[in-house]
């Protein structure tokens, strides 16, 4: 019946072709033409007049409904346009904060299907929300420590803080399976954070270096435990680093030998594709190490110390991100 209704109902997507207004008018013309072409012998003067009037009334009604539908459709277009503007603003804001949002380095997206880049943007938005929640938690911790709230309530905050980090590791696992290079590139983080990157995130040993000075005074036993943790963390990190070096080396060998995929397979070194699969395991192990380090610290420290530690850690990363912004906005010499 009406093209307006069909297009209105199908989806609100403004990208579908707009219905043509002209069609309604031609239909009106057709109806008028039909009246004029009616078989004369069926009509007496009176019934003819009544029928014409009825038809004209119907036409007016149809035109009125058509105008209403057009108005509704235009309103819908307006809403979509506003939403688009809003999304663009969000992207700009994210860009200014130094978050990589896919502009510039187009090479990263080459060859990706539409769904792939949708996932990419979705991860960055999820990470954006994670950061917002992180800021909120840091403020809460700061206030709680200043207000000297009890251990029970503090424990809740500490557990929430830990869970929040574990949530990030879960997000990264999913992301690494979809695109390990993306996670490893650190392009989803700010430049200053990226400077300290190690296999897809911060170095666990670095984390301890930031935390420990903030936690004094520590008991005798705590000092021993922290010292042992630092040593084992460093050893684990070294082992993974050397594994990564070996991976790079053998990847270079397989690429040089032309063993990209199953053709020309050398069972001793595997294919280049196998090596890239192994990268996913390495990122997973690095995140596992980060998680274990956090958990062990939580075990060694008292609730209050753990709260101070989480606050110190959160503030450290906040400052790194701020540094990235400062650097991005520094006054540059005119060239």
């Amino acid at each position: 019946m009406s093209t307006w209704v069909e297009n209105f109902k199908s989806n609100g997507n403004p990208n579908t072709s707009a219905p043509i207004i002209v069609e309604v008018d031609t239909r009106l013309d057709n109806q008028v033409q039909r009246i004029l072409l009616m078989d004369r012998k069926d009509l007496s003067a009176n019934t003819n007049k009544k029928q014409i009037q009825r038809r004209l009334a119907q036409n007016r009604e149809a035109a009125r409904k058509s105008r209403l539908r057009k108005k509704a459709y235009v309103q819908q277009l307006e809403t979509s346009r506003l939403k688009l503007v809003q999304l663009e603003q969000e992207l700009d804001r994210a860009r200014q904060q130094g978050l990589y949002v896919g502009s510039g380095v187009e090479g990263v997206h080459m060859g990706f299907s539409g769904t792939d880049s949708a996932w990419f943007t979705a991860f960055e938005m999820e990470y954006g929300h994670w950061l917002e929640e992180q800021s909120r938690q840091i403020c809460e911790l700061r206030n709680a420590l200043q207000a000297h709230i009890g251990d029970v309530e503090l424990r809740i905050l500490v557990d929430a803080g830990m869970s929040h980090y574990f949530e990030l590791f879960r997000m990264k696992t999913t992301a690494a399976k979809a695109d390990v290079f993306y996670v490893m590139s650190g392009m989803w983080k700010t430049p200053a954070e990226r400077f300290f990157f190690w296999i897809g995130g911060f170095r666990p040993s670095e984390l301890l270096k930031v935390l420990v000075p903030q936690l004094e005074p520590l008991t005798e036993q705590q000092l021993i435990d922290v010292c042992n943790l630092r040593q084992s963390c460093q050893q684990a990190e070294d082992a993974l680093s050397q594994g990564m070096d070996k991976l790079q080396q053998t990847l270079a060998e397989t690429v040089a030998a032309g063993q990209l995929a199953e053709v020309g397979y050398n069972p001793r070194t595997g294919t280049a594709m196998d090596k890239l699969e192994a990268l996913v395991s390495f990122v997973s192990q690095a995140d596992h190490l980060r998680q274990e380090t956090l958990q062990q610290m939580s075990r060694i420290l008292t609730t209050r110390q753990a709260a101070r530690g989480l606050l110190a850690l959160g503030e450290y990363f906040l400052r790194l991100r701020a540094l990235s912004s400062l650097w991005a906005n520094r006054p540059r010499e005119p060239t």
Binding site: R268, Q285, H288, L289, E292
Partner: protein
């Protein structure tokens, strides 16, 4: 599988590995750093390699390699080894096999 359990008991610290596996290499490096010299068995170079792989997974190793055995007991894969080490529980297990401890 008998072969796996036999090999696992052959030395104090045994790692079942694959020659192309760099994570296995990393785990081996860790043990070397702790002063231990594990016996590394490359199952991809064994004709019964597939059987051994299945056996290891049946024994509870989620990734077939690296599969780490200490004193003939399955410790686990990379995850388990790392967790043990960070919690300070790996070194006590290795004490008998550290030459200069």
């Amino acid at each position: 599988m008998d072969k796996v359990t036999r090999l696992a008991s052959e030395k104090g610290v045994v790692i079942f590995s694959k020659s192309s596996c760099c994570l296995c290499y990393a785990v081996n490096i860790l043990f070397q750093e702790l002063g231990v010299h594990p016996m590394v068995y490359e199952i991809d170079q064994d004709p019964e390699g597939k059987e051994m792989e299945k056996a290891l997974m049946r024994m509870g190793c989620n990734a077939p390699v690296p599969a780490v055995f200490i004193s003939g007991q399955l410790v686990g894969s990379t995850n388990e080894v790392m967790s043990l080490h960070l919690s300070g529980n790996l070194i006590p297990l290795l004490k008998p096999y550290q030459p200069f401890s």
